[in-house]
């Protein structure tokens, strides 16, 4: 059996801790207790696995060990005695609570946990932090670094959110069919925001992978929800091009300048096959439509070969279900590829997006192509001052596409 180091156990932690925490919250109804017990179980695993090697079912091992730790702790506490008798009632399938067969896969409660973490009664910041901490297995320090706040600030945010869940009794269950559309929206938004945070944050690039992992879990646990599939496809297709967005010298590469050979074909194939399944299902929603747009881009070896009329048609549909100025901006760009920069600029100038950085970058590019250089320069400067990454800022300061 291979010996294990700390990094290998850390890997298992990322993969398995969400499942274990979810199972313990189900058993004990207490997030703090679940978190602490799972943490302790991994500390025990670090020693035991280094000595004996990886068990056949590491997740089951962790869950069983954590359960036993939690029961030990409750036995020591007066209030715990009460809770323990309630737990025994709740888990009639085993005589001794906390002793499931550790070689069998544990029941997957992660879906309940993610709906609790993303309950609309919690702020979006709290939803993201809880999801990363409890389902993603990130430490408070890592969550803090991802959102550029100090560790104590993040610890306070997490503690407050957990206190609210407990005090206000935010339920631990998958919403019923009629509630699902409203309740699924924040869940998908949280996963999407974790991905975009990974794109812009140099501190925690692992967030993109984490978002995709969460989207995969959701897609496995909710195979009948077309928007869940749409989100996964969108993330896979975006991820397929992420490496090629940055040029070897660290500057930004536009879609048309990217080398399609650097795109990840496996991710594209997987994303496109999900998009095709969505199309057959024909229940379009914002994530599926954005995924479809990305699927069309992934088909074209060059920007000139892109099927722009199909992209405009998809944006028309997207604008119908998600009538936001950001969607309208992207639609205008696609129209510009067919009808030219003047037509696009006329549409773009209509939009109220002064605080949205891509709005200024788009205007700058269109003005440049129309030869209105001084107006273009002003727009480039405005866009550069708002750029989220250094690569993007440098690109815009040099005058965008015209500098190449």
């Amino acid at each position: 059996m291979p010996r294990l180091d700390e990094a290998a156990v850390g890997q298992v932690f990322r993969e398995e801790s969400g499942r274990s925490i979810a199972a313990l919250v189900r058993a004990f109804g207490d997030i703090d207790l679940a978190e602490d017990a799972v943490q302790e179980a991994f500390a025990i695993a670090l020693r035991a696995w280094a000595r004996d090697g990886l068990p056949p079912n590491p997740g089951g091992w962790i869950t069983t060990t954590a359960r036993n730790r939690a029961i030990d702790r409750l036995r020591r506490e007066a209030r715990g005695q009460e809770l323990l008798s309630a737990v025994a009632v709740l888990t009639p399938e085993s005589d001794e609570p906390g002793l499931p067969d550790e070689t069998r896969p544990v029941q997957d409660d992660r879906l309940c946990l993610i709906f609790t973490c993303c309950h609309p009664a919690l702020s979006i910041e709290a939803q993201i932090a809880l999801t990363l901490r409890l389902l993603g297995g990130l430490s408070t320090k890592e969550v803090a670094r991802s959102f550029l706040v100090t560790e104590p600030t993040m610890a306070t945010r997490l503690a407050r959110a957990k206190r609210k869940i407990k005090a206000a009794r935010i339920p631990y269950r998958v919403p019923e069919e009629h509630e699902l559309p409203d309740r699924l929206r924040p869940v998908l938004a949280v996963v999407y925001l974790i991905y975009t945070a990974g794109q812009t944050s140099q501190a925690e690039p692992g967030l993109c992978a984490e978002a995709i992992r969460l989207a995969r879990i959701l897609a496995t646990l909710m195979p009948d929800e077309p928007e869940v599939a749409g989100l996964l496809a969108l993330l896979l297709l975006t991820e397929s091009r992420r490496a090629s967005r940055i040029r070897p010298d660290g500057t930004l590469a536009l879609l048309g300048e990217q080398d399609p050979k650097r795109w990840d074909r496996a991710l594209i194939d997987e994303g496109q096959s999900i998009v095709r399944r969505c199309l057959r299902r024909n229940q379009p929603g914002p994530y599926q439509l954005q995924a479809a747009i990305n699927a069309v881009h992934a088909d074209a070896a060059t920007l000139e070969q892109t099927d722009w009329s199909q992209i405009v048609a998809l944006y028309d549909q997207l604008l119908a279900v998600a009538p936001t100025p950001v969607v309208a901006l992207n639609r205008a760009i696609a129209i510009g590829e067919i009808q030219g920069p003047a037509a696009a600029l006329a549409l773009v100038n209509e939009l109220d997006l002064d605080n949205y950085q891509p709005f200024h970058a788009t205007r700058a590019d269109l003005l440049q192509r129309l030869g209105q250089t001084s107006e273009a320069a002003a727009a480039y400067e405005r866009a550069a001052s708002m750029a989220p990454t250094d690569a993007e800022r440098d690109f815009l300061r040099l005058g965008g596409r015209a500098s190449r």
Partner: protein
């Protein structure tokens, strides 16, 4: 079961369009239907609308002496206008009652859980 406070707040000095007789009748009817529903579902514990904040009296102890002052807490701009105390299984159930309440009274409703005696 958890107990929740569903409260509505009014901002001091906020101009309010006076209700016509007919509007008042409809308002009372909506509230009556809601309260009946709360009672028959076993959620209702107590509730009511309060008089204006300027009918309030504040009592405090200062240097061992009880002082009585006219009016609400001076520093508050928002005042409790009315409330329900309900019992519900979880926050989702409480929020469902809050949705019905806000639909009936056309004002935002704040939902807060009561502290359990054992949680003190």
């Amino acid at each position: 079961m958890t107990q929740y406070l569903l409260s509505v707040h009014s901002v001091e000095g906020e101009a309010r369009d006076p209700m016509s007789k007919e509007e008042m009748r409809q308002f009372m009817e909506r509230v009556g239907v809601l309260e009946e529903e709360m009672k028959s579902a076993g959620a209702w514990l107590f509730g009511g609308a309060l008089h204006e904040a300027d009918t309030a009296t504040v009592v405090r102890v200062s240097d061992g002496e009880v002082l009585t002052t006219d009016g609400p807490f001076a520093e508050a701009k928002e005042h409790l206008g009315g409330f329900y105390i309900i019992e519900a299984n979880d926050l989702d159930a409480a929020l469902a009652w809050a949705s019905k309440t806000t639909a009936a009274v056309s004002k935002p409703i704040e939902v807060r859980p009561f502290r359990h005696v054992s949680e003190a």
